[in-house]
């Protein structure tokens, strides 16, 4: 599903990723953990094509295609989804309009027929019901005036509607109460299947109680320092990241 080879990336001329390798197969859930400033968010933005993140070396293959040359919208069309750490507020754009436009754009990209208003409403109702999200959120402008929890629920809803092949969750647990955390975890688990994969980027182990990973990686100083099973997360929770940051040495 995803193959990252020797990825180097700079932001404002400063090298953040320094030869990162990562392979995720269909059906797997991987977690990346790491201290602040280790390059976790940079990795998610490089994958999704944000301006200002420059790849200097290496490649990112998604379903066998090199996505680094693609526009962000093309990557989304290919089935890549980023749940933002800080979802953006967009005044004046109703959430429904946004969701429908996003879904039909992705469908157009894939050569599928667009959904009409009726079909769309039916689909969204189904998803909000599954996730236990209040429909009222759809009428409001995208993320405007949403609480931290509502924003993350909204990300979960978008993910459920767009049904990506690979979902990257960037610090989705930050600032969440336990209920919102469960909603998000629930939507991830609903999506989970033999044809999908997830990359959960997190600072803390807590989220991994709800989304149980197949593999855990430690990202520090721009590279994967260690990989292991889910027990690695628990170990990190106890010992911290000191041994990977050089601070302990």
């Amino acid at each position: 599903m995803l193959e990252i080879k020797n990825l180097h990336a700079t932001v404002d001329g400063k090298e953040i990723l320094k030869g990162l390798d990562l392979t995720i197969k269909a059906g797997e859930v991987h977690a990346i953990m790491g201290p602040n400033g280790s390059g976790k968010s940079t990795l998610s933005y490089v994958m999704t094509g944000r301006e200002g993140y420059e790849v200097t070396e290496g490649e990112v293959l998604f379903k066998g295609k090199n996505i680094l040359e693609m526009e962000p919208e093309e990557r989304a069309g290919e089935g890549l989804f980023l749940a933002f750490q800080y979802p953006v507020e967009i005044p004046g754009v109703p959430n429904t309009t946004f969701l429908k436009e996003a879904m039909n754009s992705v469908r157009r990209y894939r050569g599928e027929d667009e959904l009409d208003a009726m079909q769309f409403v039916k689909l969204v109702r189904e998803k909000t019901k599954q996730l236990g999200i209040n429909d009222e959120m759809l009428k409001r402008a995208v993320n405007v005036g949403f609480s931290g929890g509502e924003k993350k629920r909204n990300e979960a809803l978008q993910m459920a509607v767009l049904e990506p092949c690979l979902a990257v969750l960037d610090e989705t647990d930050s600032g969440l109460d336990i209920d919102a955390l469960k909603t998000v975890a629930n939507s991830v688990n609903l999506l989970r299947g033999p044809d999908n994969a997830m990359l959960v980027i997190t600072h803390y182990q807590r989220l991994l109680d709800y989304i149980v990973p197949d593999q855990v990686h430690v990202l520090a100083q721009g590279r994967i320092q260690r990989s292991g099973g889910k027990e690695l997360a628990l170990e990190l929770e106890k010992k911290g990241y000191a041994e990977f940051t050089g601070a302990a040495a």
Binding site: E71, F98, L162
Partner: protein, 438 residues
């Protein structure tokens, strides 16, 4: 150019309506004298610092006093949904076209007519209302209008009259076979407690450049409400200069919105005098300009007495080498305690060469007031753009969504049923790169 207009006056003198009215002849002469004294506005005048009329001087405009042989069109374009009832007046190149107009039934106490008819039917009333509002700025174009005024619409509502349907005034230009200059003069008089919605729509028929130099005088008496909305979608080789003067009485409301997408050069100059306690005005607008268009919105609001309110929001989108001007002045006079005045100019500049000149001004002589002003200019929000694109929405569509949302918030303020979709559609057409025939 000043001479050219003087010549126009000479040529038209015998064709101008109301020859038999000595007060009107004298009024015209005063206008001409004032215009001759100052000439066309130049950027040396403070109020015209950012808007040069030089492009107008490059066109050899003809003056025309007699309506042309009828240009035939099936029907004038409308901004309202087909089934909407309205009172419609159509002007082509400044001339009233009764064959295209449809006044419909009016309630008692309401009169909708033209300036020309008013000169014949009720010249005394006209004498009592025309050119009676004070001008806060030096207004050479208004002086020229006063000299040359030919026709325009007149709306009179007697005390307590409520018009249930909107009045739609459609101005179509460019129909002649030479460049034409004309000077529409409109008059709106709402007596105590009356209410009306007035929708103006400026568009074009032919290919010729034209200059429309209009003047609209509005008086909204105590407790009356006028909702005044305009879409200026003139031809891209046209010049649109519009002056509005309004006087708003006790507990009266003047609610206005002006959207600009058209004209090579346009100026929308609105001055409002809030002269009765509880008077309230909303001066809002939106503009979308590109290419080499120049769009000027200039407003002056005088708070003359205590407890008056004004809310003003202009939002614009400027692309290519287009230029926009926003000048907004709030003047709170000595007696006008408890004034509440807010003004905001927000602009999206879509290219490196796009330009906005924003000049908000507060002039306050009372000490117990709440006033604010602000001006912002910037590019589209990059984070929002990335967020939309990361969800699969292509860049062009994402940009359009953000621009529509930006302007949509202004359009939503309009309190005329059926008008908002047409304005949103014209924004959509603009974004799609075409000019819809709205």
């Amino acid at each position: 150019m000043t001479e050219a207009f003087n010549e126009h006056f000479g040529a038209l003198r015998d064709h101008l309506p109301g020859q038999n009215l000595s007060w009107l002849t004298a009024l015209r002469q005063r206008g001409l004298d004032r215009f001759a004294k100052n000439g066309l506005p130049t950027p040396r005048m403070e109020a015209w610092k950012y808007t040069s009329l030089r492009p107008i001087e490059k066109v050899d405009f003809a003056a025309e006093g007699v309506p042309r042989a009828c240009i035939s069109i099936d029907r004038a374009p409308s901004l309202l949904p087909e089934a909407t009832e309205s009172h419609r007046l159509v002007f082509v190149d400044g001339h009233f076209r009764s064959d295209l107009s449809r006044l419909g039934e009016l309630p008692e106490g309401a009169r909708i007519t033209t300036l020309g008819e008013q000169m014949v039917d009720d010249p005394d009333w006209l004498h009592g209302h025309l050119d009676h509002l004070e001008a806060p700025l030096v207004q050479p174009m208004l002086a020229l209008n006063t000299a040359m005024m030919m026709n325009g619409f007149v709306l009179r509502l007697a005390r307590g009259t409520v018009l249930p349907h909107p009045i739609e005034v459609i101005h179509l230009g460019g129909a002649g076979d030479a460049p034409l200059a004309y000077h529409p003069r409109n008059l709106v008089v709402l007596e105590e407690g009356s209410q009306a919605t007035l929708i103006e729509h400026c568009s074009h028929l032919g290919e010729q450049p034209y200059l429309s130099n209009s003047m609209t005088e509005i008086s909204v008496a105590d407790g009356a409400t006028l909702r005044h909305y305009k879409l200026q979608a003139d031809a891209l080789n046209a010049f649109h200069l519009a002056t509005v003067k309004a006087e708003v009485g006790r507990d009266a409301t003047y609610d206005s919105f002006c959207m600009t997408t058209g004209a090579r050069l346009s100026r929308n100059e609105v001055s409002v005098r809030l002269s009765g306690q509880g008077a309230d005005c909303h001066l809002n607008g939106a503009y979308l300009v590109r290419g080499e268009q120049h769009c000027d919105n200039t407003t002056v609001v005088d708070h003359l007495v205590p407890n008056t309110t004004c809310r003003e929001v202009f939002k614009g989108v400027v692309d290519d080498k287009a230029r926009a001007v926003f000048q907004g002045k709030l003047k709170v006079h000595r007696d006008a305690q408890h004034t509440n005045g807010h003004q905001l100019s927000k602009v999206l500049l879509l290219s490196d060469r796009a330009e906005i000149n924003a000049k908000p001004e507060l002039e306050i002589y009372a000490d117990d007031v709440v006033c604010s002003h602000g001006a912002t200019a910037g590019d589209l929000d990059h984070d929002a753009l990335f967020y939309l694109r990361a969800r699969g929405i292509p860049e062009a569509a994402a940009r359009s969504m953000l621009i529509e949302a930006f302007l949509g918030e202004s359009v939503d303020q309009i309190a005329a049923e059926g008008l908002c979709p047409a304005l949103m559609a014209s924004i959509g057409h603009w974004l799609a790169g075409s000019r819809g025939d709205y």
